[in-house]
């Protein structure tokens, strides 16, 4: 009779104890649990308590809220980071004063080489601002009264921003209405670079305002900003709107054009590499030629008996109207016939970039000739017959 009572009281005390301590670290919880158990139970119960985990004893694990980092904690982290940066610079034999973040990254990859595929799982040493998520400071004073007049909307930064933008729009419209009868409208200066930049995406905006937004909120904000940008407003308003835009890289500038080389006879030629599925190809395109193509030492007509593959070889040359003007010698290995043809196509297109103007390189890119095809064979999954095909469903 006594033993069951003791054990059930031990369990109860354990559960009660654990129920009150939610936020503490798991290791602390375990020790406390074992300590509580030691008080309540005897030998065998003590050993049982030590080996249990917090998760299995709890009935339901509540979802953990985001850790709240205090300002002092963040400040301490920043000090530690700066100190650590100086130590790292010393270790690497560099000058601590001019040790930039790129140097830090390089040093960490050197000291802690990691083969993990997920880049975010590798060891990093970055400024705490980038690691700890931005959190809001306390929004109300000691008397409990909030600082911001829109606090009770729930999304004070968002609504105050909308308020500001609308105020600016009204202001600009008023100015224009005053100038309109005098017909003194200024020229419509559209400083907004509609092509080279894009609006902030919802995630970036949430990060900026440190508030959760819904899709409709985001849509409304972008609509208002567009309206403000479209009005003939002064440079101050344009600058305000451009704060919500990010620049887009011009993709055509990113193409790496291989340099034209010259062989012993002075003939210009250029090399390009290409990959498709598991096939890799290297093509040497000569500047002056009669349109002969040799693949792995064999004429292309014999190497690719299928018409579709030969069309693919022809594609970049035909696109640039240079069919009979270049000689191609290429080596290819791996993959199947279609993959090899695709790899050679990419290699030839890349090699041709060096003989051709920038505009034509951009045309080739827009025709899809200069992009490596990322599609590879999808793996077979366990419990299925193939990558997508499931086993035949049997009722019984």
């Amino acid at each position: 009779m006594a033993a069951p009572c003791v054990s059930c009281s031990a369990a109860l005390s354990r559960r009660l104890f654990l129920g009150t301590r939610v936020v503490l670290a798991r290791s602390q919880g375990l020790w406390k649990a074992s300590a509580a158990g030691a008080q309540a139970g005897s030998g065998p119960q003590l050993s049982r308590l030590i080996h249990t985990t917090v998760v299995t004893t709890k009935k339901s694990v509540p979802a953990s809220r985001r850790e709240v980092y205090t300002e002092d904690f963040i400040k301490k982290q920043i000090e530690e980071f700066n100190l650590g940066k100086r130590h790292l610079a010393n270790m690497m034999g560099e000058d601590p004063e001019t040790f930039t973040q790129e140097d830090v990254d390089r040093a960490i990859t050197y000291l802690f080489p990691s083969g993990l595929f997920e880049k975010r799982a590798r060891p990093i040493m970055k400024h705490p601002e980038q690691i700890f998520p931005k959190q809001r400071a306390v929004q109300w004073g000691e008397d409990g009264r909030p600082f911001h007049f829109l606090f009770y909307t729930g999304k004070q930064s968002y609504y105050s921003l909308m308020h500001d933008i609308y105020g600016k729009i009204l202001q600009v419209e008023n100015q224009q209405n005053q100038l309109l009868p005098k017909s003194l409208l200024p020229e419509n200066t559209e400083v907004l670079d509609l092509i080279g930049s894009r609006w902030l995406i919802k995630e970036e905006l949430e990060e900026m305002l440190v508030e959760k937004l819904s899709d409709q909120d985001y849509t409304q904000l972008i609509r208002l900003l567009e309206k403000l940008g479209r009005l003939a407003s002064g440079p101050a308003e344009q600058e305000f709107v451009s704060r919500f835009r990010r620049s887009l890289a011009v993709q055509s500038k990113r193409q790496e054009v291989p340099p034209v080389q010259h062989d012993a006879q002075g003939m210009p030629f250029s090399t390009g590499q290409g990959r498709r599925k598991t096939a890799t190809a290297e093509a040497v395109v000569s500047g002056h030629g009669s349109g002969r193509i040799r693949v792995n030492g064999v004429d292309y007509l014999r190497y690719f008996p299928v018409m579709q593959d030969r069309e693919q070889l022809m594609f970049p040359l035909h696109f640039l109207d240079r069919l009979g003007k270049h000689d191609v010698t290429c080596t290819v290995s791996g993959g199947g016939r279609s993959a090899q043809a695709g790899a050679i196509r990419l290699a030839v297109a890349r090699a041709l970039c060096s003989f051709v103007s920038e505009d034509e390189v951009e045309w080739m890119r827009q025709a899809g000739l200069l992009t490596t095809d990322p599609r590879v064979r999808e793996r077979k999954k366990p419990g299925q017959e193939g990558a997508r095909r499931k086993f035949t469903w049997k009722k019984r």
């Binding site: 092509i195 995406i201 899709d215 985001y218 849509t219 972008i222 594609f315 025709a367």
Partner: protein
Amino acid sequence: MAAAALRAVRAPALRSSCAGWRVPGLTPVRWSRYSPEFRDPLVDKEHYRKPVAELTEEEKYEQELKKTQLIKAAPATTTCSVFADPVISKFTNMMMKGGNKILARSLITQTLEAVKRKQFEKYRAASAEEQATIERNPYVIFHQALKNCEPVIGLVPILKGGHFYQVPVPLADRRRRFLAMKWMITECRENKHRRTLMPEKLSHELLQAFHNQGPVIKRKQDMHKMAEANRALAHYRWW
């Protein structure tokens, strides 16, 4: 699984005169190896050779916009050749069995050759006035035949009150083209003598469809008649 299927879209550069607003958010992308921001390639040579003076404002804007966009790789079946036809490519893919593209393509080539031969025989045997009406280009015949086979209205089973009713419904363009090709292929596979080869049968069916005769046209007309008969159920459609 749902998280993998849906990915956030990077909001593209928007035009100031954009009328139809797309809600920026999650666009379903069913496991494509390309990111959602990749655009489809445009292979037409003439489109790029147009002189700058001839472009309208819209086109100039489109050109500038395209320079900032990432483009997918061109598929292995497309070329800028004049002989490349998207309709023929689609038809070849639908004819293909087990990934045997070589066989499918050779069948189509033989079919087009057979169509051309038959038309030339008719041409040689015809008088001068009839010769003007005989079409000899197999590509023209192919396109016209498939266009003749496209149904205008289709039937969709809608569940109402525990019963499935066949409700007449307008079809999208791509659905119509698909149905035309599917009916043609099914007809040629199933209703032929064991000894006749596919090119022969297919060329025969194409020529019949070109003249608005034959079993595929009949199937299309049956579909239209059923839709007409079930006219009363049209109000079951809610889209």
